[in-house]
């Protein structure tokens, strides 16, 4: 290693790999991964979130799994929980929707209203 700049470069790269273990996460993406969720396709949705966060170098958001929330007909379901505990629940998720949620909700703070549970119930 020849310089401090090089050290900083390695640090940044390595940080992405371990940021999962830091405790000051800004947001959590909670994916319902019970039998109903998995059957409805929750795994590709979760993988899409992980990939998209990785592409954008976002390391303050973690993707976690949870059990059945109880509204199995609307699976796959995903909840986005912020630091204060405010929740937004997205339903009938797909990997494509996941990409848009990262771009709009996670990055820009705009909730994708058309995917939320409230919208789904109106239909």
């Amino acid at each position: 290693m020849k310089s401090i700049a090089e050290l900083e470069e390695i640090r940044k790269k390595a940080l992405e790999k371990v940021s999962l273990r830091s405790t000051n996460q800004e947001m959590r993406i909670v994916v319902g991964m019970a039998t109903c969720g998995i059957a409805a396709g929750a795994r590709p949705v979760m993988n899409a979130f992980v990939e998209e966060l990785g592409k954008r170098n976002i390391n303050t958001v973690s993707v976690v799994m949870t059990g059945c929330i109880g509204v199995c007909r609307l699976e796959p379901m995903v909840e986005i929980v912020d630091k204060e505990g405010n929740k937004v629940t997205y339903v009938n998720m797909t990997p494509e929707k996941a990409v848009r949620i990262v771009a709009e909700h996670i990055v820009n703070g705009r909730v994708c209203n058309d995917y939320t549970i409230g919208e789904a119930d109106k239909k």
Partner: protein, 597 residues
């Protein structure tokens, strides 16, 4: 780059490795493949979490769920339930109710009061990956001192932080460095004392196993500060995992150009070598340690000259303990002020204690100086098992003394412990309950020093042996009038005349037990009684006829056939034959067997 949604951290410290954590890692890899999620979940080997009593320990991120006492058979369930379905395996979670699901690691009582500076990376990073260390600000402090600070500024920062040696003496680290820096010489050395010999203390091992790069970085900083280009780590050969990880770390640091010539593009050069100790306790003493590095028999020599003037190969040398070094990078990064705000007036920062003995949470804890012993024992340590009462805690191992219940609320720091007749030492903390005989404990520690005395000076070689003989006599029920006084005279003389720290502190366990538990000595000598019922020569096992149901279990279990009786005649123990092993008392289902003291 592969991104994972979850990391499974498995403790690879000595304690957890002994309970098969290596097999757990392999099993995780197999089970993840079976569930086809090996690309989503990463298994990471890491250092000690500190809660060794409940090992092997597995922590799953991002949830931070801490699983304890995991077996190879449990792995399948963790993978299928937690990692595939997102349901916590509650029966394995740390905590009584298994309810601390969210951030169990930080919210557990064991961790709440702790402040981890020296241990900050233990249980967080993979010790065999230099990149993970760099990710958590590793080698940043070295970069800072090399490019932004003059050597004297580094020394002043360490001085201002108030950091004192964590190995036992508590000498201010900055002043030590200053002495060595002021010496004019063509060659100077930086040494690390990792010859951790106190019975029960294992914080240095945990740092070497969990965060070896931290030591390398700190020693390079020390080299820059005093003008040395060569360092030696003296580590005991009984720590194979620690030695191995340190070797890997040194090789990686060399590969990355963080050891060797022109470090980080500056003209600073520093190299590091490992020297293995062969298991002599006296080699933890600084002059003996350096003699041993030079290749001679490890024996101490008189001071002055101090190592900072004439140390290794007669060259100016600084020698610090592993834990002391582990604080250095953080002090450089966060500043002297930050560090000096933690702790008490004269003892700054934190101290790692290896808590053992009669306590629920055996393990490693790092607490701010000034935390009371009560908090350590009852809050972090989880109290004493089986509802027994606290009797005393031994700090400082064979060089220290005991602290009785009346001083439980003393804030723990260097000076308060010395006032109580004990010492910080390297940080072993052995908790004793009411079933402990203090004379027996003093004898135990003295036996250790008799064994480990190098034999160079007579006060230590002969004096400790004489003290041990008296203690053997007292615990054997043959104590004589005046024995206690003889012990006191011997202790005083050995302390005053022994050559090195080992001998000078060897009488401490006797002196402090005499101060706080003199009545127990008197009971042994005058009444021929051991109040705690430990000294076998002075107690008997007896069967009480009332609760005894004549089941005969005791008679069948007795290894020397000392118990006789049948359904009609009451069972009795033949005291002539009895070897006082206690098996009968342990096996009796009706609690009909008692110790008669």
């Amino acid at each position: 780059m592969q991104l994972y949604r979850s990391h499974v951290l498995v403790c690879g410290g000595t304690g957890c490795t002994a309970s098969k954590s290596d097999k757990i890692i392999t099993e995780f890899e197999t089970q993840l493949e079976n569930s086809k999620i090996q690309d989503e979940v990463k298994v990471v080997l890491t250092g000690c979490f500190g809660l060794c009593a409940e090992g092997p320990i597995v922590v799953v991120y991002p949830e931070g769920s801490m699983y304890t006492m995991v077996t190879v058979e449990d792995v399948k369930e963790i993978v299928e339930e937690h990692l595939v379905k997102g349901r916590l395996v509650k029966r394995l979670l740390h905590g009584e109710d298994g309810d601390n699901s969210d951030k169990s690691l930080d919210s557990a009582d064991f961790f709440k009061k702790q402040l981890r500076i020296a241990l900050r990376n233990c249980g967080v990073i993979n010790p065999e990956s230099i990149e993970e260390y760099i990710a958590f600000d590793g080698y940043k402090a070295l970069g800072k001192v090399l490019t932004e600070m003059k050597p004297q500024e580094v020394i002043d920062t360490i001085k201002d932080s108030g950091l004192r040696g964590r190995g036992g003496g508590g000498f201010p680290t900055g002043i030590k460095w200053d002495f060595a820096a002021k010496q004019q010489n063509d060659q100077k050395y930086v040494c690390c004392n990792a010859d951790e010999g106190d019975p029960g203390a294992f914080m240095d091992r945990s740092i070497l196993e969990g965060d070896p790069h931290c030591l390398i970085e700190a020693m390079a900083i020390a080299g820059y500060a005093i003008g040395a280009n060569q360092g030696y780590v003296y580590v005991r050969a009984e720590y194979p995992i620690a030695v191995n990880r340190l070797k890997i770390a040194i090789e990686d640091a060399k590969k990355y150009g963080l050891l060797g010539k022109d470090i980080l593009g500056t003209d600073f050069e520093f190299d590091l070598e490992i020297r293995l100790g062969a298991g002599a306790f006296v080699c933890g003493e600084e002059t003996a340690l350096m003699t041993s590095i030079e290749g001679y028999r490890g024996e101490p020599r008189p001071r002055p000259p101090f190592p900072a003037v004439k140390g290794l190969w007669q060259k100016p040398t600084i020698l610090n303990n592993v834990e002391t070094y582990a604080n250095i990078p953080q002090i450089i990064l966060k500043g002297a002020q930050w560090f000096s705000e933690i702790g008490t007036e004269k003892s700054k920062g934190t101290k790692v204690f290896a808590v053992g003995g009669k306590i629920n949470n055996t393990g490693l804890v790092e607490i701010p100086m000034g935390t009371t012993l009560r908090e350590v024992v009852y809050e972090i340590g989880g109290g004493i098992p089986n509802g027994k009462k606290y009797k005393a805690a031994q700090t400082g191992g064979p060089s220290g003394g005991c602290i009785p219940a009346s001083h439980l609320d003393t804030p723990v720091d260097y000076d308060s412990l010395i006032q109580l007749g004990s010492m910080m030492g390297s940080g072993g903390l052995i908790v004793m309950d009411e079933d402990t005989c203090m004379v027996d404990i003093a004898k135990f520690f003295l036996e250790f020093t008799v064994d480990e005395s190098c034999g160079k000076c007579p006060p230590c070689r002969i004096g400790t042996k004489r003290m041990f003989e008296i203690l053997e006599r007292i615990t054997g029920g043959k104590g004589e009038e005046g024995d206690v006084e003889k012990l006191e005279i011997l202790a005083k003389n050995i302390k005053a005349s022994a050559l090195c720290g080992l001998g000078q502190t060897a009488p401490n366990p006797v002196i402090s037990t005499l101060t706080y538990f003199r009545d127990e000595y008197t009971a042994h000598v005058k009444d021929r009684k051991c109040p705690a019922g430990v000294c076998k020569s002075m107690m008997q096992y007896v069967i009480s006829t009332e609760p005894c149901k004549n089941c005969g279990i005791c008679a069948r279990q007795c290894p020397v056939d000392a118990i006789s009786g049948d359904k009609k005649t009451p069972y009795v123990i033949d005291q002539e034959k009895c070897v006082k092993c206690g098996i009968c008392m342990e096996k009796c289902p009706f609690k009909a067997i008692f110790k008669n003291v």
